[in-house]
């Protein structure tokens, strides 16, 4: 390391690694992991999100979980929250649907309306 610019590069990379602790993220994906969500396969959904986002090196995306969301009939349920945009809720998610949501919504910004069960707060 020889310059402040070198330091900045390391800092930016390190900040991405620490983004869970309050760094700025573009998109937050929240997987509903209540008992019924898990019974319907939320674990696999979560895993696929983590893998897909990691494989594509999407550093500005954060994946987290929440409890029961009260949409039992549509589990697994996933919220996609982007700064300044209404929340999009997808239902009846599967690993294959996750892959599509990542490509279409997270990468290209096109909501996959077939899977959407609710929008807004």
């Amino acid at each position: 390391m020889k310059t402040l610019a070198d330091l900045k590069k390391i800092r930016e990379k390190a900040q991405e690694e620490m983004k869970l602790r309050g760094g700025s993220v573009r998109v937050k994906i929240v997987v509903g992991m209540g008992t019924s969500g898990i019974a319907m396969g939320a674990r696999e959904v979560m895993k696929t999100f983590l893998e897909e986002i990691s494989n594509r090196n999407l550093t500005d995306v954060l994946v987290t979980q929440t409890g029961e969301k009260g949409l039992s009939s549509m589990e697994p349920v996933v919220d996609v929250i982007e700064d300044g945009k209404p929340k999009v809720t997808y239902g009846n998610m599967t690993p294959d649907k996750v892959k599509k949501v990542v490509v279409e919504h997270i990468v290209n910004g096109r909501i996959v309306s077939d899977y959407v069960v609710a929008t807004g707060n």
Binding site: A14, L20, G34, L50, T64, Q65
Partner: protein, 619 residues
């Protein structure tokens, strides 16, 4: 490297480690392995998060959920409920008396009045990762200083910020720096004083353990300002974890090219080495510390010459405290004005305090200078523990003094505390309840100083021992009229005549307790009674016959079999034989045994006969 969805920060400061944090961490590894979650969750060991009393504590991001007093048995529930189902475990969250639950770290009242500068990263980053330090803006200040500022510019910023030494004396940091900057020397040394020995102070340990790179960066900025290429971190051997972490930080900084030759491509070269103490409190005094680094006895030497003129190996040297260095990078990053906007007219910035004793939230806190003792103890510290009443607070360790309930609205800054007979010291705050005897506490501090006196100068070596002797007499019922005045006379003389800070300040606890609790000394001396039932010779145990159920448990537990009786006659303590161990009081199922202030009349009578017979022999 796969994407993580949870950062689990486990406090691994010495406090939480002592409460079993390692076992928790191991259990998490096991459970995550079992459930196949290791790829999704980051386990990070951090430095001290502050509220040691709640240890082991942890914070879970992204939500920032705060759990306290976690046991290995709780780990399964945290993983299956929180990590898998997204339902944080509320029974592990902090609750106050009104049963409000504080789920996230930000909501916890302990953190709310705090402003973290030196402690900013403690408990937030992994201290063994240089990248995490860099992520928080680490080494940016050093880079900026080296590439855009002259040494004099750097000193000017510190001057403008008003930073003063955080180790005790409160000497303005820029004056020391300027002196060494101006003094010629073939070599100049910068020394970090990590020989934190004040009983009840542990901020330096927590900083070295929790954010070691910050200290190194502060030191290197100082080194550049004074023109030094070599530094030493003197850390007491009682802090093995701090030593390990700082050594690791040095090697990581060297690997990254942030320490060593031509740092940031400039001409500035710097190397640091760790030296450990070996159990001598006096080595916190800067001249003693220097002798110890040189490999000798840690005896202080008279000043002048000051270390800034003739220090380590007779070269101009700076000795700054750990916390002082901890403030330096942030001052340069955020500017002198920002730092000076906090605090009072003469005491700028923030100060780390270690809250201990009979206080609910023991631990480490950082607050702006000028906060009142009331805010510090009752708001941040959560008030007294166990429903006890506040009696006094000892500030500044064995060199400081006691303040009372009348002083709760005093603003905490260097000058105000000194006027009241206490001192900032390194920031130890020992809170005492009405269960404590002030004479006993003063004796305790004196005992510490007698132990730690290096023996070089006679006022400290002999004088303190005399004071301790008087205090021992007073607390064992042999006090006499004139003792208080003698203590004051000795104390003032020792304070004026001692060679170094240890002796100069050692009488303070005695002098300040006499000043504010003279009546307690007087009852000890005149009535041979310890009102707080702490000094054993000046109190006795008594069995209340009306409450005694004659179970004989006390008699069976008495180590000197001085309790006799029967179910019918109840039990009695034979006062002359009693060693006052207190076992009987602990085991009594109906609480019939209590402590009574003063000697028992039988004991007083025996003492009088004994005294007469000795006099008789002498005739």
């Amino acid at each position: 490297m796969s994407l993580k969805r949870i950062d689990l920060l486990i406090c691994c400061g010495s406090g939480c480690l002592s409460a079993g944090a390692m076992k928790i961490k191991e259990r998490f590894h096991e459970v995550l392995q079992e459930k196949g979650l290791t790829n999704e969750i980051n386990i990070i060991e951090t430095g001290c998060m502050g509220p040691c009393d709640y240890g082991p504590v942890m914070v879970i991001y992204p939500e920032g959920i705060f759990y306290k007093k976690v046991t290995p048995a709780d780990v399964d529930e945290i993983v299956s409920e929180h990590f898998i189902k997204g339902r944080p475990v509320s029974r592990l969250m902090l609750q106050d008396e009104e049963e409000n639950t504080f789920s996230t770290q930000k909501e916890v009242p302990f953190y709310q009045k705090q402003v973290k500068v030196a402690l900013a990263n403690c408990g937030y980053i992994d201290p063994e990762s240089i990248d995490e330090y860099i992520a928080t803006g680490g080494y940016e200040a050093l880079g900026t200083v080296l590439t855009t500022m002259s040494p004099q510019d750097t000193i000017n910023v510190i001057k403008e910020s008003g930073l003063r030494g955080r180790g005790g004396g409160g000497f303005p940091t820029h004056i020391k720096w300027q002196m060494v900057h101006d003094n010629p020397g073939a070599e100049k040394y910068i020394i970090c004083n990590g020989d934190e020995g004040d009983p009840g102070a542990f901020m330096d340990r927590s900083l070295l353990e929790g954010d070691p790179h910050r200290i190194l960066e502060g030191m290197m900025i100082g080194a550049y300002a004074i023109g030094s290429n070599a530094g030493f971190l003197y850390i007491r051997a009682e802090y093995p974890l701090a030593i390990k972490r700082i050594k690791l930080a040095i090697s990581k900084a060297k690997e990254a090219g942030l320490m060593g030759k031509n740092i940031f491509g400039t001409d500035f070269c710097f190397d640091a080495e760790v030296r450990t103490g070996a159990g001598a409190f006096v080595c916190g005094e800067e001249t003693a510390l220097i002798h110890s680094i040189e490999g000798g006895r840690g005896n202080p030497t008279p000043k002048p010459p000051y270390p800034a003129v003739q220090g380590l190996w007779d070269m101009p040297s700076i000795v700054n405290n750990v916390e002082t260095f901890g403030n330096v990078p942030t001052i340069l990053l955020k500017g002198a004005k920002w730092f000076a906007s906090m605090g009072t007219a003469t005491s700028k910035g923030t100060k780390v305090f270690a809250l201990t004793g009979d206080i609910r939230n023991t631990g480490l806190v950082e607050v702006p200078m000028g906060i009142t003792l009331r805010e510090l103890i009752f708001d941040v510290g959560g008030g007294m523990s166990g429903g006890n009443k506040f009696k006094a607070v000892q500030l500044g360790g064995p060199s400081g003094g006691c303040l009372t309930a009348d002083h709760l609205d005093v603003h905490v800054d260097y000058e105000t505390l000194k006027e009241r007979g206490a001192m900032m010291g390194s920031g130890g705050v020992i809170v005492m309840s009405d269960k404590n005897c002030m004479v006993n506490i003063a004796k305790y501090f004196m005992d510490f100083c007698v132990d730690e006196s290096c023996g070089k100068c006679s006022p400290c070596r002999i004088g303190l021992k005399q004071m301790l002797g008087i205090l021992e007499r007073i607390t064992s019922g042999e006090g006499k009229e004139g003792d208080i005045e003698e203590l004051q006379r000795l104390g003032e003389a020792i304070g004026k005549l001692s060679l170094c800070g240890l002796g100069q300040t050692a009488p303070n606890p005695v002098l300040s307790t006499i000043r504010y609790f003279r009546d307690e000394y007087e009852t000890h001396i005149r009535d041979k009674s310890c009102g707080n039932k702490v000094c054993l010779p000046l109190m006795h145990f008594n069995i209340d016959k009306d409450r005694c159920i004659g179970c004989s448990l006390c008699a069976r537990k008495c180590p000197v079999t001085c309790i006799t009786g029967s179910r019918e006659e109840k039990y009695t303590i034979h006062q002359l034989e009693c060693v006052k161990c207190g076992n009987c009081q602990d085991v009594c199922p109906v609480k019939a045994i209590s402590r009574i202030p003063g000697m028992h009349p039988e004991v007083t009578a025996k003492r009088e006969t004994d005294a007469k017979s000795t006099n008789h022999h002498e005739d």
